[in-house]
């Protein structure tokens, strides 16, 4: 569905690359998570894949189209949910969707149905300018589905949404994937990536550090951790220690000897912990 080979991009048209020698493949029906800290080059890569940014160097095909000679008809197959919601504030939610659907050549979905899907069913006649930030974000998300895309780009689809709505968005994404939609998900939320993605790619400073499935990563890097909660004097304290590190094991012994233990759980390393371990960078 997507093939990227040796992609470079520089906003200043020089050697200062925002994206450097990036290569990856995404197969049909896959959910691919593109993970990295702020400024890593996620949106830049996505911008090139969707034709919003000019391809400078590298070979990119998207949904069977060569991005070097982009064809407008390609967009009939693509949906794009933007990180920053971008809807017409002087038009109502429904008008926004009604307008947008007219720009496609393929069968489109009913605006009201889409609004209901994202919990805006009764807000369709309100101007989008009067929407809250989260509502605008949901409208942007709903809009990206209007042409029944087979390839769906999602840039931070749940960021800034309250947990219950975020979980609804997640279930919509899962449902779409079950229907066979290929999904390119950009995020720095590791929990969402872990939950939704078949494979993830870690990108830092414009370079891909690793691509694998969350499951494999956990097997490979998944040393056991123990969360221990204990009482030091009157204070309750909590520490997370690895079974694999000598220092941590010593510390664990020390705690067991000296304090009253409240709870103690073993757990797998999270994707976030693996990311930090692999890249040496926090996901901020």
């Amino acid at each position: 569905m997507i093939s990227v080979k040796n992609l470079y991009h520089s906003y200043s048209n020089d050697e200062k690359y925002a994206v450097k020698d990036v290569s990856f493949e995404i197969t049909e029906g896959e959910v691919f998570g593109f993970l990295g800290p702020s400024g890593a080059g996620k949106s830049t890569t996505q911008g090139i894949l969707t034709g919003l940014l000019q391809l400078q160097k590298g070979d990119v095909t998207v949904a069977g189209y060569d991005i070097k000679h982009i064809k407008n008809e390609m967009f009939n197959k693509i949906g794009m949910s933007f990180e920053q919601s971008n809807v017409y504030s002087k038009m109502t939610g429904k008008e926004n969707l009604e307008f947008y659907r007219k720009l496609f050549d393929v069968k489109t979905r009913d605006p009201q149905e889409l609004l209901e899907l994202v919990g805006l069913g009764d807000k369709g006649d309100i101007k989008a300018g009067e929407y809250s930030k989260g509502m605008k974000h949901r409208l942007t998300f709903a809009r990206s589905m209007i042409n029944n895309p087979t390839l769906w780009f999602l840039d931070e689809p749940t960021t800034g949404l309250d947990p219950s709505i975020a979980s609804e968005i997640k279930s919509i994404i899962k449902e779409k994937n079950r229907e066979g939609v290929t999904i390119f998900l950009t995020t720095h939320n590791m929990f969402i990536a872990d939950e939704l993605c078949d494979r993830v790619g870690f990108i830092v400073d414009g370079e891909i550090k690793l691509i694998d499935s969350p499951k494999n990563l956990k097997l490979q890097y998944g040393e056991k951790f123990v969360d221990v909660e204990y009482v030091d004097g009157k204070e309750a304290k909590k520490e997370s220690l690895s079974f694999m590190e000598k220092e941590d094991i010593g510390r664990l012994k020390e705690i067991l000897d000296s304090y009253e233990i409240r709870t103690m759980h073993t757990k797998e390393a999270t994707l976030e912990e693996i990311f930090i371990k692999v890249t040496g960078r926090e996901l901020v």
Partner: protein
């Protein structure tokens, strides 16, 4: 028209009617026509001006008074001097056998015909009661000030069309929606075309409205439309560039005003300056538009002349287009 392009236009139109400034621009021609009709005498008030001798036959003078505004002068030389002034006034002086009519040469043909006809009717003793012909149908009885104002308003409506485009582009920029449109099958060219329609259609409808309401409905509408379309090119280009360069609605509207200077300058130049200064206005498209509109409104524009002036406007606009079109494309990338 392509369905997608139409959708872009209809969206702009709908949003424009919700914006105070944009709505004002759209209804401007109607407001202007009402104002012009209130303050400038209408077409049916006979404002054919005739200069005659004070000592002339009172019956003769009285006949013309019924159908025109008559100014009396002491000597034939005074009459002559009066006729030579800029405005349109026709002299009637007694000759050896008959009265003779004389004009400066720059008066609309219709006006001279009208006075000739009046004289002929007087000679044969025809009065308004004897004929079903409306005298006002004959000549061009439109006062020059009215013609000038309508002319300026037509050009203004084209500039305002450009302003509408700018307002709509600024809106897309503020809402950051251009990138959303860019990931649809609508081509960049189609988008630009769709955005341009409002800048053509609003001036066209506005101009026709204005012509009808101010009594110019009998002009050659095809000539008028040809001239208007040519003039709109420059307004559209400036509209796009100002929309792209400004991120605030009022700022964009304010910057469009840079077009008012060459517009009003051309009018002033064409009307007030002597021949040797005229060439300095040749590079300004509004200069040619003004001159062409003036002929069309006087119903004295030949297709040859109007086409030539249209060609001048298009040629100048093409140069402007070559300079700023790449900037417009670039500016709409995100």
């Amino acid at each position: 028209m392509n369905r997608k392009i139409l959708a872009v236009f209809l969206r702009d139109m709908r949003v424009s009617t919700r914006d105070f400034v944009a709505l004002y621009i759209i209804v401007f021609p109607v407001l202007f026509s009402i104002a012009i009709n209130l303050f400038v005498p209408g077409i049916n008030d006979s404002t054919v001006n005739i200069a005659m001798l004070e000592g002339d036959n009172p019956e003769h003078v009285g006949y013309f008074r019924d159908y025109a505004v008559v100014e009396l002068f002491e000597t034939a030389d005074d009459v002559r001097r009066r006729v030579e002034k800029r405005d349109n006034i026709i002299g009637i002086l007694p000759g050896s056998k008959d009265y003779y009519i004389f004009a400066q040469g720059n008066e609309p043909e219709g006006l001279v015909d009208y006075v000739k006809t009046l004289r002929a009717y007087e000679f044969f003793g025809v009065t308004a009661e004897d004929t079903r012909v409306e005298f006002s149908d004959f000549g061009n009885t439109i006062p020059p000030i009215k013609k000038l104002m309508v002319n300026v308003a037509i050009m203004l409506s084209s500039v305002l069309g450009g302003m509408l485009i700018a307002l709509n582009i600024v809106e897309e920029k503020v809402d950051n929606t251009i990138s959303a449109v860019n990931v649809t099958p609508l081509s960049r060219g189609g988008y630009i075309l769709g955005k341009s329609i409002i800048g053509i259609l609003v001036p066209v409808v506005g101009t026709i409205t204005m012509l009808v309401l101010t009594g110019f409905s009998n002009v050659n509408m095809f000539q008028m439309l040809m001239m208007l379309l040519a003039t709109s090119i420059i307004s559209i280009l400036v509209g796009f560039i100002e929309g792209i360069n400004n991120s605030d609605v009022m700022e964009a509207a304010g910057n469009i005003k840079i077009l008012f200077l060459p517009l009003m300058g051309s009018v002033a130049g064409a009307e007030l300056l002597s021949d040797k200064w005229q060439k300095f206005f040749y590079p300004i498209p509004f200069y040619w538009t003004y001159k062409a509109n003036d002929m069309i409104l006087s119903r004295s524009g030949t297709w040859g002349k109007i086409s030539l002036y249209t060609a001048f406007v298009v040629a100048i606009s093409a140069v402007v287009f070559a300079i700023i079109a790449p900037k417009i494309r670039k500016g709409l990338e995100h």
